[in-house]
C-alpha cells in the first residue's frame, strides 16, 4: 500500500509539472495582457512601462524559471487584474465550487442510482424505455439552455427560487440540478448496465430460488457488486463537474472557480489561470487515487500494489 501511494504521488508530481509547463507557455503564445489593461488611448511608452512593471519584458525562459521557483515555494503569485494574491482568490472561490459540485453530485447520485436500478429491473418493458428517453433528454440538454429555462420558470414566473447568486441553500438548488443533470444520466446508464450484468449471474438466480425478495436482493447483493463501475465513474464525473461548472457558474452568477477561469482566461490573468489549472489537475489526480483505494475497500478481491 505504501509503495503504491509513493509511486502514485511521484506520477502525480510529474503530471502536475507537465500541466503547468504547458499552461505557462500556451497562455503566453496567445496574446499580451497589457493591451487589455491599458485604455485605448495608451501610447507605446505606456505599454512598455506596463510590461516592465508586470515583468513581461524579461526573456520567456527567465519568466518560466522564476515561475517554477515560486511553485516550489508554494507561491501561486499575484493576479494583476484583481490586484490580490492568487492563493487568496482561490481560497474564496474553491469552497463555492466545492459546494456546487457537491450539490450536483448529490442530485446525480440520489436520482441517477435508483433510476438505473429501476431501469435494470424493468428492462425490456415499456416503462424502461420511457425512463431511458427521459435520461437521454437530461443528457442532451445543454446546460446554458436548461439553466436559463429553469431561471425563467422557477425564478421569474413561479418566483419559488432566487434566479441567481449565492447566500442561501435555495440559491444552490437550480445550479446543482443544472450541473447534475448530465452526471445523473451517466449514473443511471452505468448503474443500469452494471445491475443488468449482475442480474444474469448464478448467485442472483440461487438467491431468487431461495425466495429472496427484490428489495432485499437489490440492497444486499446487487448494489455492492455493481459498485465498481459506479465508483470509477464518480472519479471521472468529478473532473466533468469542474468543467461543467464553467458554464453553470456563468449562467447562475455562481462565484466559483468556473467563472473565475473564464474571466481569467479572457483577461490573460496568467497567474490565476495557472493556479486554477494546477488545482484542477490535483483534484482529478486525487479523485482517481481515491477511487482506486475505494475499489479495494468495496471489493476485497482488488489488492493495491505488488504484494
Amino acid at each position: 500500500m505504501a509503495s503504491f501511494l509513493l509511486n502514485r504521488l511521484f506520477q502525480a508530481l510529474v503530471t502536475a509539472f507537465g500541466v503547468i509547463t504547458l499552461v505557462f507557455f500556451i497562455q503566453r503564445l496567445t496574446g499580451d495582457p497589457t493591451a487589455l489593461l491599458l485604455p485605448e488611448t495608451a501610447t507605446q511608452k505606456d505599454f512598455e512601462a506596463m510590461r516592465q512593471t508586470l515583468g513581461f519584458d524579461r526573456p520567456m525562459i527567465e519568466q518560466y524559471l522564476s515561475f517554477l521557483g515560486d511553485m516550489i515555494r508554494f507561491d501561486l503569485g499575484r493576479s494583476f487584474i484583481q490586484n490580490a494574491p492568487v492563493s487568496e482568490i482561490l481560497a474564496s472561490r474553491f469552497p463555492q465550487t466545492l459546494q456546487l459540485a457537491g450539490g450536483a453530485l448529490l442530485v446525480a447520485f440520489a436520482i441517477g442510482l435508483p433510476v438505473g436500478v429501476i431501469m435494470a429491473l424493468t428492462r425490456g418493458r415499456a416503462i424502461s424505455r420511457w425512463i431511458m428517453g427521459l435520461v437521454l433528454a437530461c443528457q442532451s440538454m445543454p446546460t446554458f439552455w436548461s439553466g436559463i429555462m429553469m431561471i425563467l420558470v422557477f425564478g421569474v414566473w413561479l418566483k419559488w427560487l432566487p434566479p441567481s447568486g449565492t447566500g442561501s441553500l435555495a440559491h444552490l438548488v437550480m445550479p446543482s440540478i443544472a450541473l447534475g443533470l448530465l452526471s445523473l444520466a451517466t449514473y443511471a446508464r452505468i448503474t443500469r448496465s452494471a445491475v443488468v450484468d449482475e442480474l444474469g449471474r448464478d448467485y442472483i438466480r440461487s438467491a431468487r430460488a431461495r425466495g429472496v425478495r427484490t428489495p432485499r436482493l437489490v440492497r444486499k447483493h446487487l448494489l455492492r457488486n455493481s459498485a465498481i463501475p459506479v465508483i470509477s465513474i464518480t472519479a471521472l464525473e468529478i473532473s466533468q463537474l469542474l468543467a461543467g461548472a464553467v458554464i453553470v457558474e456563468t449562467v447562475f452568477a455562481w462565484p466559483g472557480l468556473g467563472q473565475l477561469t473564464v474571466q481569467s482566461i479572457a483577461s490573460r490573468d496568467f497567474a490565476v489561470v495557472q493556479a486554477v489549472v494546477l488545482l484542477g489537475a490535483w483534484v482529478t489526480i486525487l479523485a482517481n487515487l481515491t477511487a482506486d483505494i475505494l475499489y479495494s475497500l468495496v471489493d476485497p478481491r482488488v489488492r493495491l500494489g505488488n504484494q
Partner: protein, 496 residues
C-alpha cells in the same frame, strides 16, 4: 436504498418549499465584479460604476454633461501650463479625517508615478507637477498647454494620503476609504460589493441607504434577475433584451447616448481600401440608418465624423454618408479586380457581432470580398495595433476616451504618430497638433471642423454612429443615464 430515498425527498422538498427573501435594498447587477476599488488602479466600467460612488473627483459632469465643481470649487488658468484650483474646506474622509490640499497633491502624484503602474497613467501623464500652495489651493503644472486637462480631471479621484500610506496599496484596494456620498462596507470576492450611504457627506448623499453591486456575467440572467425583482438596476443589455422587457409594467428601459463613437476602420496601406474611390464605394454601401434603427434602436445617433454631440470638437454641418448601393456597385465593378482582393475583417466577441456581420454583408453585396475573422480580445488588439502590412483590412470599433473631447478620439485614430492610426496626412497631423496644444477654444473648434471635413472628403475612416447605452431598471426607480456611463447613486431616487 432508504437513505437514498430520503435524500431524494429532501431535494424535492427543497425545490418546492425554499422561499428566498428578496431584500428591498438597491441591488445593481453588473456584468463582472470590479477589478479594483482603488480608483487609481483599474479602469473599466464594472470598477468605476462602484468606486465613483465612494470617491469624490476634483470636478465632475452634471447630468447635462457640463463640467461642474466637486472638490475644486473654482479654477483659474494662470499661465499656459499652470492652473490654480481652489478646494472645498469641508470635505471629510469616511474615517473622520479632513481632506486637505496635500491629499489632492498626493493623489495626482500617485497616479502619475510610472512606478505605481496605473493603467490610467496615459490620461494624466501630461501633468508634470502638483503643489499645495496652501490648505485649500493646489497648483497643477502641465508639460505644455493642455486643453483637455479639466475633462481628464473629471476622473481624478482624491484618495486619503494618510490611509494609503499607512495601510499600503493592497489593503487600500480591499477596503477603500474615500470622501464620496457612499462608504465602502463589504467586498464579498466574486459575489458583490456593498456600499452604505455617508450621512456626513458635504453634498447631497441621496436617498438610497444601501446599495449592493453584484457580478452577474450572463446577460440573460441579469434580465431574469430584473424581471424577478431580484435586481433593481441592470447594465449591459442589448436591443434583443429590450424587446423582451417591452410591455412589462414593473420594469423600464433607460438609455442614453454615450461618448463612444462606432466606426469602420480601413487599412489605407493595402488593397482594396488604399484606393479612395473604393473607400467611397464602401461608404455608400453601408446603411448606417439601417444599423442604428433596425439593429440597435437604443437611441444611437448617426455621425459622419470621429466625434459626437457629447464631445467638445464636434463639427456641425458635416454631411451624413450617402447610402447608395447601386452607385457603390458601379464604382466597384469598374475596379473589379482590385475590389475583389480578399479583405479580412478582424473582430472580437466583445463587439456586437450583428453589426460586424451586417457590415460584411453590405460590403459584399456591392462586390467586395470581405471575410470575418473573430479572435479573442488580446489577439484582436495585437492585430489592430500591428504594422499596416500585417494589419487586417477592416476593423470595427467603439472608441471612448472617457474625456468627451475630440482630442481623445481623433488624435489616436488619425494622427500619424499614434500606433492606432492608419492615416498619414501631414495636414491632419498639423491640425490635430494645433487643437491639442491650444487653450483657445475657438482655435481648437476650427481645427476640428477642418479635421472632420478632411476625413469625410478622403474617406480615411468611416465613423458611423454615437453608441448608446441601455439599462434595465425597476419602474419605480428614477435615474438619468449620462454619456460618461456612470451610476451615481446619489442621483437616483425611488418614487413612492
Amino acid at each position: 436504498m432508504k437513505s437514498t430515498l430520503k435524500l431524494l425527498l429532501a431535494s424535492v422538498a427543497l425545490t418546492t418549499f425554499a422561499m428566498p427573501a428578496f431584500a428591498k435594498d438597491m441591488t445593481v447587477d453588473l456584468s463582472g465584479e470590479p477589478s479594483s476599488l482603488d480608483p487609481q488602479v483599474q479602469w473599466n466600467p464594472d470598477s468605476y460604476y462602484v468606486y465613483r460612488n465612494i470617491f469624490d473627483n476634483l470636478v465632475t459632469r452634471d447630468n447635462e454633461g457640463k463640467i461642474v465643481p466637486q472638490i475644486a470649487t473654482s479654477w483659474e488658468q494662470v499661465s499656459d501650463t499652470e492652473m490654480l484650483m481652489t478646494l472645498r474646506d469641508d470635505v471629510i474622509f469616511h474615517d473622520g479625517q479632513k481632506m486637505t490640499a496635500e491629499d489632492v497633491v498626493f493623489s495626482i502624484k500617485r497616479i502619475t508615478d510610472p512606478e505605481f503602474g496605473s493603467p490610467q497613467l496615459g490620461q494624466f501623464d501630461q501633468i508634470s507637477d502638483a503643489e499645495a500652495v496652501d490648505e485649500v489651493t493646489v497648483k497643477l503644472t502641465t508639460d505644455g498647454p493642455y486643453p483637455a486637462l479639466l475633462a481628464q480631471l473629471v476622473k481624478l479621484s482624491v484618495v486619503p494620503k494618510h490611509v494609503v500610506e499607512e495601510v499600503g496599496d493592497d489593503a487600500f484596494n480591499a477596503a477603500p476609504v474615500g470622501s464620496g456620498p457612499y462608504k465602502f462596507t463589504d467586498w464579498n470576492r466574486g459575489v458583490s460589493v456593498t456600499l452604505t450611504r455617508n450621512d456626513d457627506y458635504w453634498g447631497d448623499a441621496g436617498s438610497i441607504e444601501t446599495a449592493v453591486f453584484r457580478a452577474v456575467p450572463d446577460a440573460a440572467t441579469r434580465l431574469a434577475d430584473l424581471q424577478a425583482g431580484a435586481a433593481d438596476l441592470v447594465v449591459g443589455l442589448d436591443s434583443d433584451a429590450a424587446t423582451q422587457l417591452a410591455g412589462q409594467d414593473d420594469v423600464q428601459l433607460l438609455s442614453a447616448p454615450t461618448e463612444r463613437v462606432a466606426y469602420l476602420g480601413m487599412n489605407l496601406d493595402k488593397p482594396p481600401f488604399n484606393d479612395p474611390e473604393l473607400r467611397k464605394a464602401a461608404s455608400m454601401a453601408i446603411d448606417t440608418v439601417g444599423i442604428t434603427e433596425g439593429l440597435l434602436g437604443a437611441g444611437e445617433v448617426s455621425v459622419a465624423q470621429l466625434a459626437s454631440p457629447a464631445h467638445f470638437g464636434y463639427a456641425e454641418g458635416i454631411a451624413p454618408w450617402e447610402f447608395d448601393p447601386e452607385a457603390a456597385a458601379e464604382i466597384v465593378s469598374a475596379k473589379a479586380d482590385v475590389a475583389a482582393t480578399p479583405a479580412t475583417f478582424a473582430t472580437a466577441p466583445v463587439f456586437d457581432q450583428r453589426i460586424v456581420q451586417a457590415l460584411q454583408q453590405m460590403l459584399n453585396d456591392v462586390g467586395f470580398n470581405v471575410s470575418i475573422s473573430v479572435t479573442d480580445m488580446p489577439t484582436y488588439l495585437d492585430i489592430v495595433r500591428s504594422d499596416p502590412a500585417d494589419n487586417a483590412e477592416l476593423s470595427f470599433g467603439r472608441w471612448s476616451c472617457a474625456c468627451q473631447d475630440a482630442d481623445g478620439i481623433a488624435y489616436p485614430l488619425l494622427h500619424s504618430g499614434s500606433n492606432w492610426s492608419r492615416v498619414n496626412d501631414p495636414k491632419l497631423d498639423e491640425l490635430l497638433d494645433t487643437a491639442r496644444g491650444s487653450l483657445d477654444t475657438q482655435v481648437r473648434q476650427d481645427a476640428y471642423n477642418q479635421v472632420h471635413q478632411i476625413v469625410r472628403d478622403n474617406y480615411y475612416t468611416l465613423p458611423m454612429y454615437q453608441a448608446a447605452v441601455l439599462y434595465g431598471a425597476a419602474s419605480d426607480l428614477t435615474f438619468t443615464p449620462t454619456a460618461n456611463e456612470s451610476l451615481f447613486l446619489n442621483r437616483m431616487t425611488w418614487s413612492e
